[in-house]
C-alpha cells in the first residue's frame, strides 16, 4: 500500500513535469500557431543550465557553481527563453515550415553539444550529483516522493494560472488575433513578429524550467534523456488533450503518460528481457499511429471542444505568403 502511494507520487510527479512542457508547447502552438519539433532541445538546455549552476564544483568540467536550486531554475528559464527567442528571431519572418526545420536542427545541435562538449556537459555520461529538493528525506522514499510531488505540483499550478491569466490578458488576445486574422491585427498596429517571438521565448522558458525540475527530481541527467522521442511524446500529449486549452494540455499529459507507463510495464511483464528493446519500439509505433489517427479523426484533440480552426489556418497561411512576397 505504502509502495503504491510512493509509486503514485512518483508517477504523478513525472506526469506533471510533462504537463509543464506541454503547457509551454501549448503557448507556442495552441495559442500562437508556432510549430516546435525540437522541444527536447529546449528541455535539455534547461536541465543542463540548472545542473551547471547548482552542482558542487567538479574539476572535470566547467562549474558547477553550487548555487541554490531556485537560482538554477531561474537560470534555466532565462537561457531557455533566450535560446527560443534567438530561434524565433531568425525564422519567424519566414514560412512556418522553416521554424519547424530550424527547431529540429536546434534539438540535433543541443544533443551534439550534450554528447561532445565534455568540458561543459560531461559528455555521454551526463552530470550527476544534482542537488535534489528535500534530498535529506531520500532515506524515506515515500516522504521524499510526496514532498517532490508537492513542489512540482506547485510549480505546475503556478505556470498554469499564469498562462491562463496571460491567455485572457491583452497580450494573449493579440496572439489569438494574430493567429486568426493576421492582417487585421497588423492593421491595429501590432507587430506580428515581435509578439510571436515573445510567445516562442516564454514557451521555451517554460520548457527549460520543466527540464530543470526533472533534473533536480532525478538527480542525474544524460544526453539520452533528450532524444526526439521526448518531443514526440509531448506532441502526442498536447494533441490528445486538445491544443489551445491549458487544462487539456495537463489532462492529455497525465493520460498519455499513464498509457505510456502502463504499456511499458505491460511489455516488461509480457516479453522476455532480451526482447524488451524490440517491444519498446513497438510501443512507439503504437503511439505514432495514435497521433496520426487523432490528427485524422479529431484534429482538435479528445478533450478539445473548440470549433475547427481550418478556416482561420487557411486564411493565416494565405496572408503569410502574401506578406512574404
Amino acid at each position: 500500500m505504502i509502495d503504491l502511494v510512493g509509486y503514485g507520487a512518483f508517477f504523478l510527479t513525472t506526469a506533471l513535469i510533462f504537463s509543464l512542457v506541454t503547457l509551454g508547447l501549448n503557448l507556442q502552438w495552441g495559442l500562437t500557431g508556432l510549430f516546435n519539433v525540437g522541444l527536447a532541445g529546449f528541455v535539455a538546455i534547461g536541465a543542463y543550465t540548472s545542473a551547471l549552476l547548482t552542482t558542487p564544483d567538479d574539476p572535470a568540467r566547467l562549474g558547477g557553481f553550487g548555487l541554490p536550486i531556485l537560482i538554477g531554475w531561474l537560470g534555466a528559464m532565462f537561457v531557455g527563453g533566450v535560446a527560443a527567442a534567438l530561434t524565433g528571431i531568425a525564422t519567424l519572418r519566414l514560412r512556418s515550415d522553416y521554424l519547424a526545420i530550424t527547431t529540429f536542427g536546434v534539438a540535433v545541435v543541443v544533443q551534439l553539444v550534450a554528447l561532445n562538449a565534455q568540458k561543459l556537459t560531461g559528455g555521454p555520461f551526463g552530470i550527476g550529483f544534482i542537488p535534489r529538493p528535500f534530498g535529506d528525506l531520500a532515506e524515506t522514499p515515500l516522504l521524499f516522493n510526496l514532498s517532490n510531488l508537492a513542489i512540482v505540483s506547485a510549480v505546475t499550478l503556478a505556470a498554469y494560472l499564469a498562462l491562463e491569466h496571460l491567455t485572457r490578458s491583452p497580450w494573449g488576445r493579440v496572439l489569438k488575433a494574430l493567429r486568426e486574422d493576421e492582417r487585421a491585427a497588423i492593421s491595429l498596429g501590432k507587430s506580428a513578429r515581435f509578439y510571436r517571438v515573445q510567445a516562442f521565448a516564454v514557451g521555451g522558458a517554460i520548457m527549460a524550467l520543466a527540464g530543470a525540475l526533472q533534473a533536480h527530481f532525478i538527480g542525474f541527467i544524460a544526453p539520452d534523456n533528450y532524444l526526439s522521442i521526448l518531443t514526440f511524446q509531448v506532441w502526442v500529449m498536447l494533441i490528445v488533450g486538445g491544443s489551445g486549452s491549458n487544462a487539456g494540455a495537463v489532462a492529455g499529459s497525465v493520460l498519455v503518460w499513464a498509457i505510456w507507463a502502463g504499456s511499458g510495464a505491460l511489455t516488461s511483464v509480457l516479453f522476455a528481457p532480451e526482447q524488451q528493446a524490440r517491444a519498446a519500439s513497438l510501443q512507439i509505433v503504437a503511439i505514432g499511429v495514435m497521433l496520426c489517427v487523432i490528427l485524422l479523426v479529431r484534429p482538435n484533440g479528445i478533450f478539445g471542444e473548440r470549433p475547427r480552426r481550418a478556416r482561420f489556418g487557411k486564411r493565416t497561411k494565405a496572408t503569410a505568403s502574401e506578406s512574404g512576397s
Binding site: 515550415d97 530550424t102 529540429f104 536542427g105 545541435v109 514526440f232 499511429v289 485524422l296 487557411k314 497561411k317
Partner: protein, 302 residues
C-alpha cells in the same frame, strides 16, 4: 589538409542531394516539409537488403561485377527496393497525407509526417533490431588517383549513378509534359487545376520520384557506410538544409546544396573532428535563412 575530403564530400553530398530532391519536390508541389522522407530512405534500404538476402538464398553466392563489391543481385534488389519505396510513399499518401491535406492547414500535414516518421522508424527497429548491418563485408582497396586522393571502384560507380539519376530527373522535369505539369503545380496550384492538369497524377509522380531517389540514396549509404534504422532520420537535417540552400523547388539547387553540405561536412571532419559533423548542416541552414532565405536558385513565393 589532404584533398581526400573532396571525394568523401562528393559522396556524402550525392547521398544528401538525392534525398534533398525528394524533400524539395514534396515541399514545392505538396507544400509541406516531409519529416518522414528520411524513413523512406531507411525502408528502401532494408527492403533492398531483404531482397539481396532472398536472392542469395535462391541462387547461392554470386560473383561480384569486376572490381566492385557487389554483383547483379544488388542491382536487381535495388530495382525492387525502389518499387517498394515508391509504393510505400503512395500508400502513406493515400491513408494519411492526402486526408490531412484536405484539412487545408499545412502544418497539420507536417505534424502527421512527424508521427509517421516515428512509427516507421520504430517499426524498422522492431523488425530488424537497431544493430547495424552491411550489404557486403568485403574490404575494397582504394586506388590512388593523384593529389593524395584515393577512391574505391564502388565509390566511382555510385558517383556515376548519381550523375545519371540527377540528369534523368532534370530532363524529366524540364523536358516532358509531366515535368511541366509539376512545375505548374508548384507555381500556382489553383491555376494548374483550371487549365486541366491532372493533379492526382502529378502528386503520384512527385511521391514516386522522391521515394525512388531516397531509396537509391539509402542503398548508397548502405554500400559505403552501414545500414541502421536511424540512417534516414540522421540524414533529415542535411537534406532539409540542402533543399533550402538550393532554393525550394529547384532540383539542380537541391543537388548543388547537397554537394556543398557534403563537402563542408567532410572538410569539418578533417579540421574539427567527426563528432561535430551534424552541426555543419545546422550552421549552413541558419546562414541561409538569415542571409538569403530563398536559397541559391529559389524564386520568391507567390
Amino acid at each position: 589538409m589532404s584533398l581526400q575530403f573532396v571525394v568523401d564530400g562528393l559522396l556524402t553530398g550525392s547521398m544528401i542531394g538525392l534525398g534533398a530532391i525528394g524533400v524539395t519536390l514534396t515541399y514545392s508541389i505538396l507544400r509541406f516539409s516531409n519529416f518522414a522522407h528520411g524513413d523512406f530512405m531507411a525502408w528502401g534500404t532494408y527492403a533492398t537488403l531483404a531482397v539481396v538476402g532472398a536472392i542469395a538464398a535462391m541462387f547461392g553466392k554470386v560473383a561480384p561485377i569486376g572490381p566492385l563489391s557487389f554483383g547483379w543481385p544488388l542491382i536487381a534488389a535495388l530495382v525492387v527496393g525502389v518499387a517498394f519505396t515508391a509504393l510505400l510513399a503512395l500508400l502513406l499518401d493515400k491513408v494519411l497525407f492526402s486526408r490531412l491535406r484536405r484539412q487545408e492547414q499545412a502544418i497539420i500535414v507536417v505534424m502527421g509526417s512527424f508521427g509517421a516518421s516515428m512509427a516507421l522508424r520504430s517499426l524498422l527497429e522492431f523488425i530488424f533490431t537497431s544493430r547495424p548491418t552491411y550489404f557486403s563485408r568485403a574490404i575494397q582497396i582504394a586506388m590512388p588517383v593523384g593529389f593524395g586522393i584515393r577512391i574505391t571502384p564502388d565509390q566511382i560507380a555510385l558517383l556515376l549513378l548519381t550523375a545519371v539519376l540527377v540528369l534523368g530527373v532534370h530532363l524529366l522535369t524540364t523536358r516532358t509534359q509531366t515535368g511541366r505539369a509539376m512545375q505548374a503545380m508548384s507555381q500556382n496550384p489553383a491555376l494548374a487545376r483550371i487549365v486541366g492538369i491532372d493533379v492526382a497524377s502529378v502528386v503520384r509522380v512527385t511521391w514516386v520520384i522522391g521515394a525512388a531517389l531516397a531509396c537509391v540514396a539509402g542503398v548508397m549509404i548502405g554500400v559505403l557506410v552501414q545500414i541502421r534504422p536511424l540512417m534516414g532520420f540522421d540524414m533529415l537535417l542535411p537534406m532539409f538544409a540542402a533543399a533550402i540552400l538550393g532554393g525550394i523547388g529547384s532540383i539542380p539547387g537541391a543537388v548543388l546544396g547537397g554537394l556543398i553540405i557534403g563537402l563542408a561536412e567532410a572538410g569539418a571532419v578533417q579540421l574539427i573532428g567527426a563528432e561535430w559533423r551534424a552541426a555543419v548542416s545546422f550552421i549552413i541552414l541558419m546562414a541561409v535563412l538569415i542571409v538569403r532565405p530563398i536559397g541559391l536558385f529559389g524564386v520568391r513565393e507567390r
